[in-house]
């Protein structure tokens, strides 16, 4: 099989999406979806769209956000679960892509915000800058639907995959590495846990 290098590999700067406005446009479709974000900028992006009780911000434990999302998805099969993760987090938890693919949760979608950088630690390049293709890995592990978003024209199809198509879904968005304003959601882990459970489960949560 021939590699399609025009659609994989390193981002071309002119093709990168504006990160914060992309997340805002995607989450317009959210309705009651439960969202888990990985540490660093994905937490700020999610909070910038409006802090909600049904957001769970994984402020540490790098590489584990997709597995938190899988646990929720397995318990809540009628709800849509979105994992909003950075490329560094996804690379650290690469095994979790295989685990999610094998578990086949129909209600789970992963959106990787891939700026090809460790933005929190000084913009050092990640492996995706060297051509490691997360979407191709997801496809190879058996995700039900995958795509790369590079331009504004890709946004409607990205929304469809993330919110409507039977999962597991993997959408890799090639985004710029511009620093968006830091919007800090709560960091208290027990508070985040309790309010998420109360919003989801009602009185039986406590």
């Amino acid at each position: 099989m021939t590699q399609q290098h025009l659609t994989t590999g390193a981002v071309r700067p002119e093709a990168a999406l504006h990160r914060r406005s992309l997340v805002m446009r995607i989450l317009e479709e959210r309705t009651d979806a439960l969202i888990v974000s990985s540490l660093g900028a994905p937490c700020w992006d999610l909070a910038a769209c409006g802090d909600k009780d049904i957001n769970f911000y994984v402020w540490g434990a790098m590489g584990s956000s997709c597995m938190v999302a899988l646990g929720i998805a397995t318990a809540q099969r009628q709800r849509r679960i979105i994992a909003l993760v950075g490329d560094g987090d996804m690379l650290m938890g690469l095994g979790s892509l295989a685990t999610v693919a094998a578990a086949r949760p129909q209600n789970l979608a992963i959106m990787v915000l891939d700026n090809e950088r460790y933005g929190d630690t000084g913009n050092q390049p990640t492996h995706t800058a060297a051509g490691v293709d997360l979407e191709a890995i997801g496809r190879a592990t058996g995700f039900a639907a995958t795509m790369v978003m590079r331009t504004e024209d890709d946004i409607p199809e990205g929304k469809r995959l993330l919110f409507q198509v039977a999962g597991p879904v993997l959408v890799v968005a090639k985004v710029d590495s511009e620093k968006a304003p830091m919007v800090l959601p709560p960091r208290d882990g027990t508070y985040l846990k309790h309010r998420f459970r109360r919003a989801l489960l009602g009185t039986q949560a406590m």
Partner: protein
Amino acid sequence: MSGVPGNNACPAWAQDLHGVLVEQNVRQICHVPDGGNAPLIELCNRTPAMAVVTLTSEEEGVALCCGAWLGGERAALLLQSSGVGNCINVLSMVRTCAFPLFAIVSMRGEYGEFMPWQVPMGQAAPVVLGAMGVIVQRVDEPHAVMPMATAAAKLAFDSSVPVALMLSQRLIGTKRFVQ
């Protein structure tokens, strides 16, 4: 006890543990395939009320158990002592958020171990779990499995703390090379 037919070849400790998982309403089971826990994993695989997730690394299971709790279900992580080392950083999420964690650890690297590569992590497992604030309880005797597992599950889920139940090699048998 476990409610699963055809358990004749299954050791009593595994049937007892499975019975406790059912009785405690544990709905998600995650594991990296493990010779020690194998009979328990097999019982779980045959239990329709349990979703069994196979992991590539045990640290994924810690995060899965956190997610299960967020979603309103109880989960358990089945792992070998060598997998304890893979879990350490993710345990920071369990502590920071005060999630319950019920881990069942099959021991290697102790009582009659033939494989020297298993010894360092086996010996360090209770120490590093303790360093991360996990309550470690060890079972050596078959008659103690059910009461100790029940108590460990109640402690984890009712007091929202991480608990590791360690199954000694004296209980589950010392591994031998199989031709």
